[in-house]
Amino acid sequence: MQTVYMKLSGIQPLQEGKVNLNKQEVWINGSSYKNKDLAFDIPITGTVYGTLLNYRNAYIQSKETMHQAPYQAPPKAPVLYIKPKNTLIAPESIIPIPEEEQELEIGAALGVVIGKTASKIDEFHALDVVEGYTIVNDVSIPHDSVYRPAVKEKARDGFCPVGPWIMSKTAVHNPNALEIRVLVNGELKQKSNTNQLVRTVEKLLADVTEFMTLTKGDVLLVGVPENPPRVKAKDHIHIEIDQIGVLENTIDIEKASVGGRL
């Protein structure tokens, strides 16, 4: 059994529990509960930073255009963006699809949850600042150009489901070797592995904290694998990361979705 930190709906403090991923049950204060009987809320509190082009194949797909306008050269530093507070939603919540859009992109991301203030850390001590890991669905409106910050495409309300918990770091043997699977309506649509990262978790933490401090509760997404699945209204999204858990949400039209659950 592994230690997790959960935010349960209706209880203010974060709850520490033990989880059995195979049996899909959680122990809290000595009592066991089925995962499906618990209402998981957003387990993180800080700023969510995303990383672009950090999976090898995603990078290779863009490589051809990197020497062309407007990019001119491959990126040197990690390419980062922010998923602001309005985007954060809980497991099982509805991801709202704007009326004028037909499809959304599912970005299955490992979220590294920061446990203590991290400034200019080096690669070899990088995991010291990590509290644990969570699953993040970095939802986007499909867009080709990455020249300008994609605020309109990535910062919509409800475009960042997070959860179901923070899996403590000690439970994860190697964050750079975790398989990620995305199922849409029960059908496997994407399979990847964090062993495909361009910058490892440690390297990314070092390069990012070189110029900006991450604080407890912040989350750094390690990237989104190539060929993110496209989904539409009513689709059920299941993102599973080995050793961490499953994050599930459903897409619905924006009007039906304010704070909504199915």
């Binding site: 700023t47 980062l80 602001p84 309005n86 704007p98 605020v151």
Partner: protein, 253 residues
């Protein structure tokens, strides 16, 4: 009224500022020199506008005509208060200030129309949105290494209630380096006005109290070096002082 957040006598205090007097919420009256100035707002989402003044866009050799406004987001790590110090990395050749009117929202809204946009504004403050141009890259430009560095967005000294600003779209912005005026513009030259920006942002996302919109800078952004005192000033809002320091300021002495 001018609302500040300050540190005084070992605690963080809300305060109002009248002339040189800082009136702490607990009743104590102190002077401006006795407090440590914090960012006047604890931010929710921080938006910043690039190229929102035609003359600055021209200065950076961009066409002012764009499909969508150039919006980027900033993290809370970037904000520091009045009289703070901002680090210039030793290897850079061009670090410039940007004097900007910061709009602080006071009310939640989505699909806000221009005509009612000011109902959602709580007040205004001054921001200096430093950029380190050496680190510019063409991916999600301006990238976070240029614009999201620790302490690279001085803000303050205080928040001025919107009722105290007659016309936020007609305010003089000026920057002085070591007392010499280097930037002189007016908010009247913004490409997208405050109501237009609020309408645009709220057209696709919910805005919340505590959100801050940095509305862009006019022309006149020049290099700053270690030791420079940079004063960004907006008529009727405030005069924000910042000092550029070297990386050795962060080392153990």
């Amino acid at each position: 009224m001018n609302h500040a957040r300050v540190a005084y006598d070992g605690s963080i205090q809300e305060a109002t500022v009248i002339d040189d007097d800082v009136q702490l919420l607990d009743g104590r009256l102190v002077t401006q020199d006795e407090v440590v100035w914090l960012p006047p707002v604890q931010p929710n989402t921080i938006f910043a506008l690039g190229l929102n003044y035609a003359d600055h866009a021209k200065e950076l050799s961009f066409s002012a005509v764009q499909e969508d406004p150039l919006v980027f987001l900033k993290g809370p790590n970037t904000l520091i208060g009045h009289k703070g110090k901002t680090v210039r990395p030793h290897d850079v050749t061009f670090m410039h200030y940007e004097c900007e009117l910061a709009v602080v929202l006071g009310k939640q809204g989505k699909h806000i129309q221009q005509e009612e946009a000011y109902d959602y504004v709580r007040g205004y403050t001054v921001a200096n949105d430093y950029a380190i141009r050496d680190y510019l890259e063409n991916y999600y430009r301006p990238n976070l290494r240029v614009k999201n560095r620790d302490g690279c967005t001085p803000i303050g000294p205080w928040l001025v209630d919107k009722e105290d600003i007659h016309d936020p779209m007609n305010l003089t912005l000026r920057t002085y380096i070591n007392g010499k005026k280097t930037q002189d513009g007016t908010t009247a030259d913004m490409l997208l006005s405050i109501p237009q920006l609020i309408e645009y942002l709220s057209s696709f996302m919910t805005l919340y109290p505590g959100d801050i919109i940095l509305t862009g800078t006019p022309k006149g952004s020049v290099d700053t070096v270690v030791g420079d005192e940079v004063v960004t000033e907006i008529e009727g809002v405030g005069r924000l002082v910042n000092t550029v320091v070297g990386e050795e300021a962060l080392q153990n002495s």
